[in-house]
Subunit: 324 residues, 2 copies
């Protein structure tokens, strides 16, 4: 204030006119940082359906040596770094989808659930922000039975996170993960995934509904054969009137690596050759149709178009629409 007074005295009205208006208003408290991210959901209308992508969070971790099985770690890291991921790290986001068909409220995949890390398991928080009551979910459809897709069906106390919902699982994935021989041969993270399967499903194993490819698993929602990532890995076509969206699930993991390089094999692909064949088939079709695609591991809001780029592909995210 000394400087202000001194300049005002020295230069009079001319200096005063240049002074910030705020300098003449009473001092007030500085606004504290808000400290919270926006609720991370995104909604759009598909015909008469209301689709809401609900962000479960993301994990950033040191890239495992075999994250991409068939290229060098240096090459994989270079791709991550060229996508502005932190040096040496890889970031993977997780995005379940809710579909209100008008007659059923359907959740596709459930995220990581509680107690994994502070940056994931955000589904309940973001679902509440989206105005969706977990008790109103009629059907939970799981695309495949990996932890990041299934763990969220249980709350922290082990109870059902969606207590009124039918739980639908792909019959072929169920057969794979429930097989004792497969489990006995599993090593490393796969052994953990089998144990996790039993932890999540044993208490409700007689209550799940097993679905097949080609089946309409909810009104207007058809299960599509996209095997490879897992034996029963499923994508979904959601149709309403003349509108359609493809929920690809894990046809690719993160697009920055695996859409740009569709023949790269992410460590989680159980049948990597089949997974790569599925990727080409799925995206060649989607690109030709200019289909809208929701990807579980696409950056939130995880909706876009996939275009051919030589033998590779690229994701064109949709432009955010601030109104419905």
């Amino acid at each position: 204030m000394f400087a202000l007074n001194r300049r005002s005295i020295l230069s009079g009205a001319a200096a005063a006119a240049l002074m910030p208006v705020a300098a003449f208003t009473p001092a007030r408290a500085v606004a504290p940082p808000a400290g919270k991210q926006a609720p991370s959901f995104y909604r759009y209308k598909l015909g008469t359906n209301e689709i809401t992508v609900i962000h479960d969070g993301a994990r950033t971790f040191p890239m495992p040596d075999i994250f991409v099985k068939n290229v060098s770690k240096d090459e994989a890291l270079a791709a991550a770094e060229s996508a502005y991921m932190p040096k040496g790290m890889v970031t993977v986001p997780f995005n379940p989808t809710v579909i209100n068909t008008g007659s059923k409220l359907v959740l596709i995949d459930s995220g990581y659930g509680p107690n994994v890390s502070p940056t994931v398991g955000l589904l309940p928080f973001n679902m509440a922000a989206a105005g969706i009551d977990p008790k109103q979910i009629d059907i939970v459809i799981l695309s495949h039975l990996h932890p990041d897709h299934i763990n969220g069906i249980r709350a922290a106390d082990g109870s059902a996170a969606f207590p009124q919902a039918e739980i639908q699982v792909p019959a072929l994935d169920w057969a794979f993960w429930a097989d004792e021989g497969n489990m006995s041969r599993a090593q490393g993270f796969m052994a953990d995934y089998f144990k996790n399967f039993h932890r999540v499903f044993d208490p409700i194993k007689d209550k799940v509904t097993k679905y097949e490819w080609g089946q309409e698993v909810a009104p207007g929602v058809t299960a599509l054969d996209t095997r490879g990532h897992t034996p029963g890995h499923t994508s979904f076509a959601v149709a309403s009137g003349s509108s359609k969206v493809l929920i690809q699930s894990d046809v690719t993991n993160i697009p920055e690596l695996f859409l740009r390089h569709p023949d790269w094999q992410v460590m989680f692909d159980i049948d990597p050759q089949q997974a790569a064949a599925t990727r080409h088939k799925f995206y060649d079709m989607a690109a030709a149709e200019k289909a809208t695609i929701i990807g579980f591991h696409f950056p939130f809001p995880s909706i876009g178009h996939v275009e051919k780029d030589g033998n590779n592909y690229r994701l064109m995210p949709v432009a955010w629409n601030g109104t419905l």
Copy 2:
């Protein structure tokens, strides 16, 4: 229910095991559509600063014949359509930014304000959702004096939307828009823009603060010369510790057209040759530095990196971070 009963009777337990669990729970009300988009703001930390991009909305309109002054309308429309804009249309989003420097709460540009269309003027709503009180804004810095940047400083009743804020305007833009000779020669939309300038600013014309390029307009916020779009068009470098972000304002309009084709001249560029020269200079520097850029007309959340692509550029949006 008839089918259920009949199959249960015919096939007994085996069929029952395949029945959806939900079929056995009491019928309940279908959840109505939520009907509301997510609040559209996005927050990130820059050193000790908290930066919040606040979406003011977007407009989709039939592409004007001269939207791009120096290429055919067909060529411009093809670029819009290849970015999945509706046929014949162009979509332009608007994204002001709030910076909490710890000592000042600063708004850069103010959006369209009320009464333009239902899809813009969302700033007050999204600012409230972001937990930011307009009465706590200390400084509003305007990058240039086009309607989509300035109109939001007035509420629907004409009062100050940010009643405690100092309003900072670029001195060179002020001189241009306040010049009676310039106004008398203006035609078409430019004549409207001059009238709009007077509508917005005449009641407070003695109270605005005029800033110059190179000046620190708020703590850690430096005004950068990016002339061309308007005579005083300004971008901002925001620095905190070793972190920096560039708020480019309108160095380009929508990236789908003008970053991909930096020599295309959007109809709003007052000095198109200078604007194109500024674009190349600004993005060549930003690409070399791998600078993070916030673009007023980039798709929300409007933060990304700009990369060189031959003589053109492309935007790589940042991945959404669901936690702070």
